[in-house]
Amino acid sequence: MDTLMHAPKTAAKNANAPLLEVSNLSTEFATYAGTLSAVDGVSLSLQPGEVFGIVGESGSGKSVTALSIMGLIKKPGRVTGGTVRFKDEANLLDKTPAEMRKIRGGQISMIFQEPMTSLNPVFRIGWQIAEVLQIHREMTRTEAWERAIHLLDRVGIASPAKRAREFPHQLSGGMRQRVMIAMAMACAPSLLFADEPTTALDVTVQAQILDLMVQLKEEDGAAVMLITHDMGVIAEMAQKVAVMYAGVVMEEATVEELFDSPLHPYTQGLLDSIPRKKSRGQSLKAIPGIVPNLLHLPTGCRFRDRCAAAHSACALADPPLQTMPNSTRKVRCWLHHPEPPK
């Protein structure tokens, strides 16, 4: 039916190879007060077609991780270390800006948090989708425009030919996010970053957008890295989850494991702060305190100031992210370490 959208995936020949493998990614920001590590040695791996959730509070380094992989970190930020293996590419971080531009929007694309401001106000939306196609595929203006109308139809926008001629301000937030999704999916990427895709939307629209993302991802076989602070979105969408805190991964597990038996006290805190039916009438639980200043991290574990289970070992050394025995899940906590420091 549609050769463009359903091009054979190269990853298929090597079924077990991860699509994306991030190891030891570090990103620093040079500020006047000093250098802060927004992402501090993050390692992740994504299988083709998988939805991988990254969850954490504001300032935990979720978005910076995604932007670092995309090569979109702006000064004064700088990726200081690590490797990003993607498909057959040994390290995306070594790519020249021109090579990265070919990958961005083509094989890897991104949906941003603010649909209200992420579309250029002076261009018709159809043109903005067509632009992506003109950058990555050798299409004429007319071909790209017709393709854009088709994509608008695909993301569920009624009378797409008419809507394509409209400007962003004539569309609601939900429709703009649909347009952003159409732009991101225009070249059938194999990896899609979704940075808080539903945060700025009404609750009813959120569900529609999530459904749309699932549907398109299934049709195109794309893997999704879903960045959110909303545990509900993670439960609905993701297969695997990484919990980030102050620039590091605190816990990584499948979504079932994480929700059934959270190991890290921080994850437990996050899950406890979700309002539930059985906690009706009680006040909402919150994790005390705030995310620490990345310039002045506490010694030892960076969560220990806010942790109810903190003990003497926690102040002595930063716990490593260690794989649990007989499992693939990982946790960064001395409570689950065989040999905590004394």
Binding site: S118, L119, N120, I135, V155, A158, D211
Partner: protein, 294 residues
Amino acid sequence: MTTVSSLDSGAVAPVSARESLFARLKKNRLSLFGGVLVLLAVFMAISAPFLPLQDPDAVDASSRLAPIGAPGHLLGTDELGRDILSRMFWGGRITLLVSIAATLIAMIAGTFLGLVSGYFLGWTDTVISRGIDVLMAFPYFLLALTVIAILGPGLLNGMLAIALVNVPFFARIIRGSTLSLREADYVLAAKGMGAGHSRILFRHILLNSLPTLVVATTINLGFMITAAAALSFLGLGVQPPTSDWGTMLASGRQYLSSAPHTSYLPGLAIFLTVLGFNLLGDGLRDALDPRMRD
């Protein structure tokens, strides 16, 4: 193709055909007035060769300084008996040509410098911005006079002089708008879609600066008209026998008490044209903003 729930897509009322730029401009009475003044000036400039006007340079010693309404001379004559009506048309042609060309040169050069310095920052910005500062450090007219002193007086050199003087005006304005637009979410989104520097700079950022640029250009045009007239007034622009509104004003000022119309007619033309461009500039800014549509 499948259509996912269109709950939020169908809810918006159908959008009627958008009004044209002119229709939007028409709502603003003051800018419409400005537009009429500008059109009038442009009409005078364009129609001069096609109207049955007298030779603007034909000297008639028998009817010097004839008053307005004199037979054969609707707006009277100047100190050499030349028909003022005809000279107003032909002079406006020169004045407008010089100021529009100078504005375009300054706009293109200034916009390019402003975009590049505001977008790339770093040493590019330092080099360009310090160069602009050097130009701005000179008093406005002194710089124009210096350029003319180097190149020699004349129509083309006067034009280049006032163009150069106005480059910083455009460069500063566009650099400022680029500085804020480069941080916009849609610029990050465009980068995320694989857009390169030139596409971001000359499509996304430039087109978003367009309202600013249009207002700056029209207002600068008014300013250029005064500058071109001032250079001619000083005898450094157009050289005789060709004349523009500035030289007419200069030659008329000697007869201010006996024949005031020889100077206030070209003066009025300059004043009304400048006013027209300024009013039109304001109106265009509102009309060009896509957020003000509908």
